[in-house]
Symmetry: C2
Subunit: 207 residues, 2 copies
């Protein structure tokens, strides 16, 4: 119900499709979802869907970008109301409450798929690298700042610590994509990794 409609309505429709698509990707994974799945979930026709997204890749990338801006916003928010670099780091790792829990981005498995299966496609690869660099820089800057302030020890290179954080997070995401949470022991592993970070950064208390 809406030909030649306001830009508002177009935005809304697009958002609706993306929301439905998100659920589909979560359910079926990237490779196994089809445009037909999305059509049905979003209650839109084939032609209608292609009006907004020219193919599955395009659609998924829209979701990726959306997630990115959301995240950036959340980080922005945290920046003010945090009392230490350590607290900020914990918040970056585990979200709002800043303590290890069992929640993970439900879209994460599909994201892994997207980048792994696309590793031979130049475009996709470049995009993946860009995202890796972004994450890396984020953690690295944070650690550097903490080191400069004296809160963190500079025994280890900030770059390397940042890298190991990403490796760990990716590893957890990967294992969690394939195994039930109880088997991965997400919470315990996260807690242990935090111990490791405390050691590497020479932070005593967790507050």
């Amino acid at each position: 119900m809406s030909p030649r409609v306001s830009k508002e309505h177009l935005k809304q429709r697009r958002a609706d499709i993306m929301k439905a698509a998100r659920n589909v990707f979560i359910e079926h994974g990237y490779e196994h979802t089809t445009m037909k799945h999305v059509m049905e979930a979003a209650g839109v026709s084939r032609g209608g869907l292609y009006q907004y997204f020219s193919n599955k890749e395009d659609l998924f990338e829209a979701l990726l970008e959306e997630g990115l801006t959301d995240e950036a916003g959340a980080t922005e928010d945290s920046l003010g109301k945090v009392e230490s670099y350590w607290a900020l780091l914990m918040q970056l790792l585990f979200g709002e409450d800043g303590s290890p829990d069992t929640e993970m981005d439900p879209l994460a498995p599909s994201k892994l798929e997207f980048f792994i299966t696309g590793r031979n496609d130049e475009r996709r690869r470049a995009y993946g690298e860009k995202r890796y660099e972004m994450g890396l820089r984020m953690y690295e800057e944070l650690i550097k700042a903490g080191q400069r302030s004296g809160e963190f020890s500079d025994r280890y290179e900030s770059n390397l610590i940042a890298r190991s954080i990403i490796t760990f997070v990716d590893g957890l995401a990967l294992d969690h994509a394939m195994l039930p949470e109880e088997k991965v022991k997400l919470k315990e592993q996260s807690a242990m990794f935090v111990e490791y970070l405390k050691m590497a950064l020479d932070v005593s208390s967790s507050r």
Copy 2:
């Protein structure tokens, strides 16, 4: 050129196909290789190929099993000629020479694909869990033994350490699947992880 042949020849043919398939999977990844690719690489017809493997999944699983038995054999070999649990652990992690290097199983990215994209298939999932458990048990037993012998501290639970090893290895494999080696800094990260293990197990020297 070989109908009604010796069992030897059949084994050989099968092995040849698997070898060719391995290369194809390495080049294209699991999802993007087709039976046609394998046919061409192995120099065998469609019908011929299907005589040995009933589909792509079957073929890939044969490669997985092969890798598993190879690995078990290599581990077996090490067991005798190793002077400490620590050395054994390093050998398990980094292969023969037991020191961090930049080599990784070239089939690893395809393996990740196989299990991630198949995470909703019951059969595949169960298989993945089985493999995880196997790897977990292997590391756990080793660490337990080291702890019993007094070589390792039992400050941390062997199970948890084993898990974090797998998480780390998986994380590295994942990042390496998408990023060039220089970007992941495989070697440096491995070295740092070893430092961490030394800390967790309270091992002083690396020999």
